[in-house]
Symmetry: C2
Subunit: 401 residues, 2 copies
């Protein structure tokens, strides 16, 4: 008998049919002799509908009241799913975030879990019940309702699995697992049997949206084995864990991220402290800088080129223009028609020539590389956006057979 | 400066416009220097929509899960109303039933308030905030969410007013107050300036649906002065209190109740214990008997005629037929085309001739009285249903000028 935490997202519980589908998945786990804690999100578009209701009332509603409002979404799902389980003869009980013991900090709409008091959940498990928990929400020290932000239900599930020392945390979603590339675009994309936490984090950062990053970080920290699988097709998914088979695949995935813009500052004085001035300004405004390229100095000047999320490009340009005098008044420009294409895989640490093979695949397609960035388990290149899909296909072909 | 509890029903908060209307009513009370606690219901049809969602899942959902589900309705309203108040510049905070300290028994879907811990509400009032509380809901000792049943928000408001020693409890609704008769039918119906708790209770029992009976009982018990008034038309409403002006109106209202059926059992043996057998059977099935008429015995037999809610008539007939042998096998029949017409007024205690004047008004219309029932402040008659509206008009004309 194992203890399994199963998380079901909004699409998986969007209507009566899907709720019964989820109830049957839980029933099967019970029939196999397991204890189950189910963590659920709000149904389908419920959260968006609630946000629209608030927007009707106020352009800038208080965050405390937003959390009070949004927390009703999951509360509706837990009641309905529990009713469905009971209708199927499965003993079950629903718990809101605060009933399940989620204690968070005060950061409304993006709270972080500080503590999890699992007595109630454990006592319900001891009564042989399936415990259906509202994801995404908790209670702060003032006994006010908080939410963990979008994707927070994944984090709730992993935190519960860690606190309960669960044997596995299954994240049910509308895809069958983690693929080597977007299967809607790359016909030959393969579903991975397993992937390490670090690879998963790099893939997510590189634009592959399967798991919420905070939940993967938390799973890595507490070594909670995750499984990503489909709530519709009952086939094995992808296991995310600390270490995978050393003889496994060299490259775990090829990802494309188009939320990228390149900022160039030409003719910056080649003196110490210039980079600090530029990146300090951006950091103060919470603008994340990703890849940085710096030319070698010539005539006492250098060029600085770096990428930021495309969403932040306008903000970045505005703050840099306003403070131009502080770094020598060089020409500032922004380029937005670019994309980042990355390959991720822990195997590349011990295999030479991965970068060369990637660049070769791009050269064969006549694709020019504008910037390069590497980590121990990742290589990213910046190229023209319109060439990105072709680049992904070529790289995928080169590495994954 | 007074402390006022203001309760707003589902119609009063059904959409953005109505929510802002309510926010402005609260803002006016604040501007007049009062502290305000607002108790609200779920918006418009929200509760019915949630019940329909549950019905899709299960024909007989668990009552605990129903309460978990339904409690989201008021939680949505408190967040939206608080946002509207803040948008108008009024400092405000929302509290769910459990945050506001409502502790109830375990009777899911029809819980009774056992205790009210008002520290949180008082501390928010001390911070000069309007406190917006979810009506209809509380928490039981197991820390599970309960609801007080339909109309429970009135009860929440009165309980809060009592616990906080509020100066007044205002029940805002879609009518302007309590009328001497249904103003949609009796053109000359007058709005009452005031009415006693007892009169209000009798009127409610006689079919006038303005206030939930439990809330009036609670207001009487703790002597909370109630005011029933319109959330749309800003005119004085009706005050419900312990004593009204002794020189006031003799009769406070004429009411019609068509949820009535008469059950006749003919030829019951005229021996002790027969009534107990009949009414004991009905009591066990929670069927309330209202007016009872018993013929004098003749030839060792008597007839028993009594009224029950029309909704329960079939059940009553079934249980009596099944147990016929126990009370002598007399003929059992049910008549459903009847109505109860009542006049209510504490003044009739000290005025002779009220009953005579009522019967005279009916006689002048050639309306036959089938049964009569009186209390200190009420006279009810059972007549043919199709004559009920004419009877109400005639009686109203006779007493209210």
């Amino acid at each position: 008998m194992a203890l399994i935490v199963q998380k079901f997202g909004g699409t998986s519980v969007r209507d009566r049919t899907r709720i019964y589908n989820v109830a049957r998945i839980i029933m099967q786990a019970r029939a196999a002799g397991h204890q189950v804690v189910a963590v659920v999100s709000a149904q389908g578009d419920t959260t968006d509908d609630l946000i629209a209701k608030a927007a009707e009332i106020s352009a800038h509603p208080s965050q405390r009241e937003m959390d009070m409002l949004l927390a009703t979404g999951e509360q509706i799902t837990i009641a309905l799913l529990t009713m469905a389980l009971q209708e199927l003869g499965v003993s079950a009980v629903s718990l809101t975030g605060w009933q399940a013991g989620f204690v968070t900090d005060r950061a409304y709409t993006k709270a972080r879990i500080k503590r999890l008091d699992t007595e109630r959940v454990e006592s319900e498990l001891a009564r042989n019940r399936v415990v259906v928990v509202a994801g995404f929400q908790g209670l702060n020290r003032s006994e006010d309702i908080t939410t963990l932000g979008r994707g927070g239900s994944d984090t709730s599930a992993v935190a519960l699995a860690a606190a309960l020392h669960a044997d596995r945390c299954q994240i049910f979603t509308d895809v069958e697992g983690v693929f080597t590339a977007d299967p809607r675009k790359i016909r030959r994309a393969k579903k991975l049997k397993d992937i390490t936490f670090d690879e998963m984090l790099e893939l997510a950062t590189c634009g592959a949206q399967v798991l919420n990053n905070r939940s993967v970080e938390l799973a890595k920290k507490y070594n909670v084995e995750l499984e990503v699988l489909s709530s519709i097709n009952p086939v094995p998914g992808t296991v995310v864990k600390e270490e995978t088979d050393v003889e496994g695949m060299l490259i775990k995935g090829v990802a494309k991220d188009t939320n990228v813009a390149a900022v160039s500052i030409l003719g910056v004085p080649d003196v110490p402290g210039m980079s600090f001035k530029v990146f300090g300004l951006l950091g103060q405004r919470n603008i994340n800088v990703d890849i940085i390229l710096q030319s070698t100095g010539r005539d006492g000047k250098k060029d600085l080129i770096f990428t930021v999320p495309r969403d932040d490009a306008e903000n970045a340009l505005a703050v840099l223009e306003a403070n131009k005098a502080r770094f020598g008044g060089g020409d500032i420009s922004v380029e937005t028609d670019i994309a980042k294409v990355s390959i991720v895989g822990a195997g590349m640490q011990s295999h030479a020539g991965v970068a060369a093979a990637m660049f070769e695949a791009l050269a064969a397609q006549n694709i020019n590389i504008q910037m390069i960035s590497t980590s121990e388990i990742k290589i990213s290149v910046i190229i023209e956006e319109k060439l990105a899909d072709r680049a992904v296909a070529a790289i995928h072909d080169a590495f994954i057979h």
